[in-house]
């Protein structure tokens, strides 16, 4: 839902970032307002996953230029946990397994960290169990997964559901979902997309990072951005994704070759 007067949540300005001295992001500009759903599309290596990692504060990535403003605060100054506590959420493409750490305990500590930041009281084990069972419905997840170690031995679909469950518990203002659709069969994809749609509202925003149209058939974006060579090359409405589906990414190469970096139109 596009509302020009909605508060600006995330404002990315000329963002450059590198990993192991290799520049990946080369001037990304993107503004996200409350209520909006954005999709960033692009080929492998275009920098879209890097963008999500940089926003979440992954230590392997170094920001070399540019700024990211999150609701008036300098996001890049904050530790990853601080970003999460103030409402930024990253749904991982490959959620790691953490043997030995109980999923339920992990979810409770994470939820309470976010609640403490918002001034809500801490939930004890019982209150939290009630909450988590209610939120499990969002992703139709089996409560048995709560008793296991974080993501350990979960299938691809179960891991992604666990990600959306975390999103449901943390109630982020900006949720970045990195290739959430990858490795999911059609039923799992529908469940995950349903979850995301249930959680989207006028107060929050979603940034979907994806390869394919099939996720966007289930979650309708307000904006579609095409990323290539570390920049956003084109921005349009949901019809841009359909066009990509039809024509593929070949035109991107042509356009990249034709345009000087300085003259690339960005949203």
């Amino acid at each position: 839902m596009i509302r020009p007067d909605a508060p600006l949540l995330l404002d990315i300005c000329d963002l450059h970032a590198s990993v192991e001295d290799q520049p990946i992001l080369k001037g990304v500009n993107l503004s996200i307002r409350a209520g909006e759903i954005h999709a960033v599309m692009g080929r492998n290596g275009s920098g879209k996953s890097t963008l999500s990692k940089v926003l979440a504060g992954h230590p392997a990535y170094t920001v070399t230029a540019g700024s990211v403003n999150y609701r008036g605060a300098d996001l890049l100054e904050l530790d990853p946990e601080q970003r999460a506590r103030i409402g930024l959420f990253l749904g991982f493409q490959y959620p790691v397994e953490i043997p030995g750490v109980s999923n339920l305990e992990f979810l409770r500590v994470a939820t309470n960290s976010r609640r403490a930041e918002r001034g809500d009281e801490e939930l004890d084990t019982f209150a939290f169990e009630d909450l988590v069972h209610e939120r499990l419905k969002v992703v139709q997840m089996d409560p048995a997964f709560l008793g296991r170690s974080v993501n350990e031995g979960f299938s691809g679909g179960e891991k992604k559901r666990n990600e959306i469950l975390q999103m449901a518990l943390l109630e982020p203002l900006v949720a970045i979902l990195d290739e959430t659709d990858s490795g999911l069969d059609i039923d799992a994809l529908r469940i995950v997309a349903d979850g995301v749609n249930q959680l989207a509202g006028p107060e929050n925003a979603t940034l979907l990072i994806t390869h394919y149209q099939r996720l966007l058939d289930l979650i309708t974006p307000d904006y579609v951005h095409v990323m290539a060579a570390g920049r956003i090359l084109r921005t349009g409405g949901k019809e841009l994704a359909l066009e990509l589906e039809r024509t593929g990414y070949d035109w991107v190469d042509l356009e990249l070759a034709r345009l000087e970096p300085e003259t690339v139109e960005v949203a």
Binding site: P80, L90, L170
Partner: protein, 479 residues
């Protein structure tokens, strides 16, 4: 961006490093036959015990200090150690009200309140300060069930027949260098006797406190569970921070008869020395249990976080048919600590079973070795052992060694060993952080997760304590 490394987090100040200012009676430094006689006479011991000590002393003189462990330390000058120190109070008091308030205060500070009002509701405590036991709680209540729980000195006086029957039968005085030394000079410790068919109504616990700088601590613990009896016992230990090393050479003997069980848990937090490896306790301990009866069971659980040097292999001799031995261990070393610890499971009887779960965490410049022996004797038909040894390395200066020996003479037995090494990966940390969990808490969660299989074995009352202790060790500043 957080700049703290995982390594920073495992460094934390030692919280039990204070010294109690109390008048102490000490004998002169050094060890000789006269010193052994003096200790025995101070304790007014029967002749059999004096003879036991003298025999051990002579055996000690003939024995060489072991050098096979992966430990390095300067030679110990056994003549520069005081072998007996006791806070000055004439007799063991009939009532706690008469115990020197300074001592009560000391144990209060350590979180072990002894007085009637404050003491733990379901745990009986024997408190040992330097060489002597100063108080044992809930003795009367236990006596109603026929359970004897007292200091070993008291047991020598009141139950000499039990001491004579069991002392030195599991760990003979010539078993090894440190056991011989302990047998010659042991000062105090705990004695537990659970008679036939009795399930001990509460947890038993001994708390050891070293206070003097130049005193060695040589406690002796003996626990006997008769047919069908069971008990859960926990020991804890702390010491002040001195820049010299104190020697601690304990012996623990467990005897279980038919269908009996002993669960023995240790939370070891002796002073570990400073970040440069100066000071700290040298901990040379011989712990062994004998499953003498059929279907008997011994379970060792240890959480080793302290000491500059740890040399300790709580073991089970599984004689009775179908007896069970278990060893669950967490050993955390940091700075310049060195630990060489593990277990021996000696399968003698048929269908005996043993389980070993060892979790070693090495940080700083420390060295952490698991050394274990699983031995299957020719009569151990159908014996089974499963061992799992995992190491977690924090930083690239710490060493993790694994030496699991297996000796088998019985084809109809199954021995399985598995070991792995892991670290806290940056990706796992980032994942937890990206859910709002702070760096320290993330590390702590992963370390407790790594140790969970062992913590689950601790008695309820102490599982939280162990978790807290580890968290404490992990507490630090995120820069």
């Amino acid at each position: 961006m957080s700049t703290a490394t995982v390594g920073d987090l495992v460094s934390q100040p030692y919280k039990h490093g204070f010294v109690t200012d109390i008048e102490t009676e000490k004998i002169a430094k050094g060890l000789s036959e006269d010193v052994v006689r003096l200790i025995s006479s101070k304790k007014d011991e029967p002749d059999f015990l004096l003879q036991f000590r003298l025999r051990a002393y002579r055996q000690w003189l003939q024995t060489a200090e072991p050098d096979w462990a992966a430990l390095g330390y300067p030679p110990i000058d056994y003549q520069n150690i005081i072998y007996y120190a006791a806070p000055k109070q004439q007799e063991k008091k009939a009532s706690l009200d008469e115990v020197d308030p300074k001592l009560l205060e000391t144990f209060d500070k350590l979180g072990i309140p002894l007085s009637e009002q404050k003491r733990l509701s379901n745990v009986a405590v024997d408190a040992v300060f330097d060489s002597v036991s100063i108080a044992t709680t809930y003795k009367e209540k236990l006596a109603e069930h026929g359970v004897i729980f007292c200091s070993i000195s008291e047991a020598v006086k009141e139950h000499p027949e039990l001491i004579e029957a069991y002392l030195g039968t599991v760990v003979p005085s010539n078993d090894n260098y440190f056991a011989a030394l302990n047998s010659a000079v042991f000062s105090d410790g705990s004695f537990v006797f659970i008679p036939k068919g009795v399930e001990c109504p509460m947890e038993l616990s001994t708390y050891f406190r070293i206070n003097s700088a130049d005193t060695g601590q040589f406690e002796r613990t003996l626990i006997v569970a008769e047919e069908g009896a069971s008990v859960s016992y926990l020991e804890g230990c702390t010491a002040p921070m001195f820049d010299t090393n104190q020697l601690h050479a304990a012996v623990v003997e467990l005897v279980v008869l038919d269908d009996a069980s002993i669960k023995y848990s240790t939370v070891q937090n002796w002073y570990a020395g400073d970040e440069n490896g100066v000071g700290g306790i040298y901990n040379f301990v011989t712990k062994r249990g004998q499953c003498r009866g059929a279907r008997s069971r011994i379970s060792w659980t240890q959480v080793e976080t302290g000491s500059a040097i740890t040399w300790k292999y709580p073991s089970c001799v599984l004689q009775g048919a179908d007896s069970v031995g278990e060893f669950y261990s967490v050993a955390l070393t940091n700075n310049h600590q060195q630990a060489d610890t593990g277990t021996k499971m000696i399968h003698v009887g048929p269908r005996t079973r043993s389980t070993i779960v060892s979790k070693g965490i090495s940080a700083g410049h420390s060295s952490n070795s698991y050394r274990g022996l699983v031995q299957i004797g020719p009569k151990a038909l159908g014996a089974k052992n499963y061992s799992q040894c995992d190491s977690m390395l924090i930083g690239d200066q710490a060493a993790a060694n694994t030496y699991p020996y297996i000796r088998s003479q019985q084809p109809d037995a199954v021995v399985e060993h598995e070991a792995s090494t892991c670290r806290i990966s940056a990706d796992q940390l980032f994942y937890l952080q990206s859910r709002g969990i702070g760096f320290e808490e993330a590390v702590s969660m992963m370390v407790s997760g790594f140790c969970r299989d062992v913590f689950n074995q601790l008695p309820m009352e102490f599982a939280a304590e162990a978790d807290k202790l580890l968290a404490l060790k992990l507490e630090g500043s995120v820069g």
